[in-house]
Symmetry: C2
Subunit: 336 residues, 2 copies
């Protein structure tokens, strides 16, 4: 393994081609969307991908075609310490996109600590959702500064794209009275999105993560039947609140996130909308809105912005600006 580390060190080649080497942690829906998007970009390339099955490292770039119907362990090295391997080879990567499943709150913060303790100096971006997990990332600020890591948290769609839209909209107002994020998701068949639907059920009244994780597929199907396939989610724990509060825009209790998931129809049941209500300097109360195109998928709205924050992070890193930033504080930069 030592030999492999040395070879990868030599082949780090950002300066030769101008494209940043990106490692993606996770090869589920978001990780695979990242692989497909990176293949269409000139400024970045997929140089590693890892999940629980194993990892592939190829600094010159991984063709996402080889991952179709395959897992990283199928085409690269099979191991149950794939993240550890990425950490040990982290000098080969300009940026790390964390697209791991949202497990317990401390899982991703522990992974991030591992990179800092190894002495990684580069950019890291996550698409964490829960307020508690994002708050744990902010607590790593000193540690990441010492390691020379520029970290952007909550950098997906919500939190992320919509949080940043709220932070932008706030500037027209003297006081922000409330931020309301309402998302619509449509899937033709819940069984293609078992993990996501299971987590959505955990957010319903009377359910929690523990209860949802113990439900059988038949029980989930029964629950969906009782609700005619529609899940209405309100007052979700989403880190939009923490990120907007930290940016000094509005206190967290004035931020609400909810949505409607149709598990039987790919059409979004409602348009995904961020509404920010505020009072202007002349006393007027009004609302700005940001509305996502109904045809855009969750993957496009999560991973596209995440890569945009990766590029912004690379610019900050090149200027020697390290530490943890929230997605409401930095403009994501369109990646060509």
């Amino acid at each position: 393994m030592e030999q492999q580390v040395l070879q990868i060190r030599r082949s780090r080649s950002k300066s030769r081609t101008g494209a940043a080497n990106i490692a993606v942690l996770g090869a589920g829906g978001l990780g695979m969307a990242a692989a497909r998007m990176l293949a269409q970009k000139k400024e970045m390339r997929l140089s590693a991908i890892a999940d629980k099955t194993g990892f592939v490292i190829e600094p010159e770039g991984i063709d996402p075609q080889v991952l179709v119907d395959k897992k990283p362990g199928d085409i690269g090295t099979r191991t149950d310490d794939a993240i550890g391997e990425i950490i040990r080879n982290s000098h080969a990567f300009d940026g790390i996109f964390i697209a791991l499943p949202n497990l317990t709150n401390d899982f991703i913060p522990d992974v991030v600590s591992g990179f800092a303790e190894h002495g990684y100096s580069g950019v890291m971006v996550d698409a964490l959702k829960r307020s508690g997990a994002v708050e744990m990332i902010f607590k790593l600020d000193d540690k990441l500064k010492q390691s020379g890591i520029t970290y952007i948290t909550g950098a997906g769609a919500t939190p992320g794209l919509l949080t940043c839209a709220a932070a932008l909209a706030a500037n027209s107002f003297m006081e922000v009275l409330g931020v309301d994020i309402n998302f619509g998701v449509g899937v033709s068949n819940w069984e293609s999105y078992r993990a996501t639907i299971r987590e959505d059920i955990a957010h319903l009244d009377g359910f929690d993560l523990d209860r949802a994780s113990r439900m059988t597929c038949a029980e989930i199907k029964d629950e969906l039947d009782r609700r005619c396939g529609i899940l209405r989610l309100g007052s979700m724990e989403h880190a939009d609140d923490v990120l907007l509060e930290r940016a000094g825009i509005v206190s967290r209790e004035k931020v609400s996130v909810g949505g409607v998931v149709d598990t039987r129809n790919p059409k979004k049941p409602v348009s995904t909308t961020m509404t920010l209500r505020g009072r202007t300097f002349d006393g007027t109360v009004s609302s700005h809105r940001f509305i996502l195109g109904d045809e855009t998928t969750m993957a496009a709205n999560v991973v596209g912005p995440a890569l945009g924050w990766m590029k912004a992070g690379l610019e900050f890193h090149a200027r020697g600006i390290f530490g943890v930033f929230g997605s409401a504080e930095i403009m994501p930069r369109f990646v060509r």
Copy 2:
């Protein structure tokens, strides 16, 4: 005058109260809105205001009440070189907001050069509209870097708030197909907004700035009568195009800006909307939209974001990041 300069140098007091000293150039609609907004902010204060009548410098803060129905020359020092006086005292200011009338393209770039040649080191923000003027500001990049100026251009509503919303929205897409900005403005009486309406007329087919500036008020009234008070403006020269092209988002010819101005009704004839159409990584074409609240005024949507970019500029300046940035490159930071 030398004595006044020295006294102002001593009283620069950002570190004592934590509020940044802001000088506003211009005391028209936007300059006066800036004065009123700054009076409601803790992080910034109005420390100087200047227009063609004269100037007031008061580092401890100017009460906007003293400016009601008065001009800077009425309450401070009457001079026809007010901008020169602000330049000579510029060491007293952390930031300069340029809210001067939009005269010839080279007027504001010349003012900015004056600050750099005097050795000013601080933040400058403009709300320029025309592409040609913004391009002239970008050409000052080297000169401003040498002086230690952090400059953000096109930092109003459009260009500005809506341009930045387009830059944010772009991240969901692999390719941006077009950006369309359509604004609505309603005023109850064109005579309260003579300069603005005159410039709007200059954008109509068959008119130009020269012809509009030579029209008598009776001729403007006749022109408005012929159009039932409604001005429909299309394909305007707005720097949204230059700013989005420079940020690498879309080529300038794919950006269009137009609007409808009702000169007889304060209600906006249409909602001000930015629509960005793009193609996602999976080939889908869709549009994100950003819609301003109908009740928000031009002043709130121009000056609020301008001060947000001022705060972002102060953060960049503190990190030693100088030069010219477009409003599509930097997140404006909500000012408390």
